[in-house]
């Protein structure tokens, strides 16, 4: 058998084994992801907050996703939206990210790294605490953020998710 032919056969055999391995991995990972999505690994222990003057009382999860990924920049009334995040290691950020954005905090950070270094956009500012978010939202009419369930809302008010 010519050497090149046997080399080709060996390559195809290796490739077939790798593709099988890949398929098995994909099935396992997809099952794990689906199970996590259905089970709701991270309970929604956060509240969305907006400025008291904001006329909206509720918003869809899809709308909030577009807002925090900066695909949408205006409220229905034309006011510019100013989304504000919390620090990546905070539990409220994790809960918000998994429940609203349907991505892990790390996946969202990757999304923003791509946007930042390709010159497309910059992420929402990240604040240190619920109080900082409430204070920011209370002083910016177009702002929207999220805080822990027990946080005092002050000049902000809750925005429910449809």
């Amino acid at each position: 058998m010519p050497k090149s032919f046997s080399s080709e056969l060996a390559f195809r055999s290796r490739r077939r084994r790798l593709l099988w391995l890949l398929a098995v991995l994909l099935v396992g990972v997809s099952w794990s992801t689906a199970r996590r999505a259905v089970a709701g690994e991270h309970p929604a222990d956060f509240r969305m907050v907006v400025h008291k003057g904001n006329p909206m009382s509720s918003a869809s999860r899809e709308f909030l996703t577009d807002v925090f990924l900066k695909r949408v920049s205006q409220w229905n009334g034309g006011e510019t939206i100013h989304p504000v995040d919390q620090r990546p290691n905070s539990s409220v950020r994790k809960s918000f990210s998994e429940n609203v954005l349907k991505r892990s905090v790390a996946a969202v950070r990757s999304y923003w790294q791509q946007r930042i270094f390709s010159g497309r956009d910059v992420p929402p500012p990240e604040l240190d605490s619920d109080d900082a978010v409430v204070s920011y939202v209370g002083s910016h009419p177009g702002a929207v953020g999220y805080v822990s369930v027990g946080a005092k809302l002050g000049e902000a008010r809750e925005l429910t998710i449809d």
């Binding site: 992801t33 996590r36 949408v72 205006q74 349907k102 791509q114």
Partner: protein, 392 residues
């Protein structure tokens, strides 16, 4: 010395900006940066660098500033330097700079030097922190093309159109030209450039996590050179020189490219696949037929974030540089199976290990391989890469 100075400057900038970024109050000006150092080693064949013996000529550094002057008007600039084997050599360049006015969500205008929206990842080709693989699939994102197909100087319109229950449509359309920083010049070379480039991308996001669509691009490279007397004598002997020959050989290379893309992202899982072709002609003012080639490539990729610090990924990529004139030898294809392990050591520092199993020699260059023809290089070979990146 110059490299050391640049790296020291970059590191001090990183530290200074990290400290600045630690302040609580959201600031209008955002500063971000990154520094990467890689190592590449191949079992056979030199790939991207002098990789057979192992090469550290694989590093990048960048810093950018973005400011929202008003709610709708933004400006930004990124300074970038890199080295990848013979490319880059740490020559600092403005990677991108722009003025951006977004009238509404469905219509915005940008002008300046902007990254080209081609496929899923062309704009983020430099962004090591934003992806799992060290090398994106080279069938569609060859790093050696960085100087040509990453950014353009011109204008762009863009927008996100809401389709209500049907999701979102994201469009980008651009036109301008490109600077050819990486072209070797010689006494014979009289002029070169790209008189035009235009294209666009349309992506449909039917629901969060899924996006699918396509990109297309058209451009032309022009090269004028004066042949040496010896070359001219050969052309004349072969009867290639037309009667009205001016003494300058003009080569025009029109290129058309398209790619279709699909990506699905949910929680920690990412799946992506793309397939594309490019059509290249070479029109010369000599009496020879117009050569043309059709390049074809595609890949499938998957990654899964196991926990906050560990993400493995895998892809299979296939490249066929000239499907219509293929000689059916090892230089007419490149099959690449890549496995990556990404470790996020801290929120701003990562390390990646990557192994490629390569079959075929397409995508290699003769210049890095002692001018040997590609079909004489080793057919089955491996690439091992390590890369670390700090970013903020």
């Amino acid at each position: 010395m110059r490299r050391t100075g640049l790296l020291l400057f970059s590191c001090s900038s990183l530290l200074w900006a990290s400290a600045a970024g630690a302040q609580d109050a959201p600031s209008s000006v955002q500063i971000h940066g990154f520094v990467s150092q890689g190592f590449i080693k191949t079992t056979e064949n030199n790939y991207l660098a002098q990789s057979k013996r192992g090469s550290f000529d694989f590093s990048e550094v960048g810093i950018n500033f973005t400011d929202a002057l008003t709610d709708k008007f933004r400006v930004g600039i990124q300074l970038f330097a890199h080295e990848l084997g013979p490319l880059g050599k740490y020559a600092p360049q403005f990677d991108w700079y722009y003025l951006d006015y977004r009238f509404t969500d469905w219509f915005g205008v940008r002008g300046g030097r902007t990254k080209l929206p081609w496929g899923l990842y062309n704009e983020a080709n430099d962004v090591d922190a934003g992806r799992v693989p060290i090398l994106l699939p080279q069938s569609l994102y060859p790093v050696a093309n960085r100087e040509f197909l990453f950014a353009q100087n011109g204008g762009e319109i863009y927008g996100d159109i809401s389709l209500a229950a049907a999701g979102l449509l994201e469009y980008r359309a651009y036109g301008g030209t490109i600077f050819l920083n990486g072209v070797d010049t010689s006494a014979q070379l009289k002029d070169y450039g790209a008189p035009y480039m235009f294209g666009g991308r349309l992506m449909w996001l039917p629901f969060e996590g899924l996006q699918l669509g396509g990109s297309a691009q058209k451009l032309r490279f022009d090269i004028d050179y004066v042949p040496t007397p010896d070359q001219l004598a050969v052309y004349q002997m072969q009867g290639l020189v037309p009667a009205n020959f001016s003494g300058t050989v003009s080569v025009k290379i029109p290129i058309a490219l398209w790619v279709t893309s699909i990506e699905y992202q949910a929680h920690d899982l990412l799946l992506a696949a793309e397939y594309g072709r490019s059509y290249i002609e070479e029109k010369i003012n000599l009496l020879i037929p117009t050569p043309s080639m059709v390049n074809q490539g595609g890949y499938g990729m998957a990654s899964y974030r196991v926990n906050s610090w560990f993400t493995p990924g895998v892809y299979y990529s296939a490249l066929f540089p000239d499907i219509h004139h293929s000689q059916h030898n090892r230089a007419s294809y490149q099959h690449d199976v890549a496995l990556t392990l990404r470790y996020d050591l801290t929120a701003n520092w990562l390390v990646k290990l990557e192994q490629h199993y390569m079959h075929g020699t397409a995508g290699l260059t003769t210049a890095l391989n002692d001018d040997k023809p590609l079909n004489t290089l080793t057919k089955d070979w491996g690439v091992f890469l390590v890369k670390t990146t700090a970013y903020f």
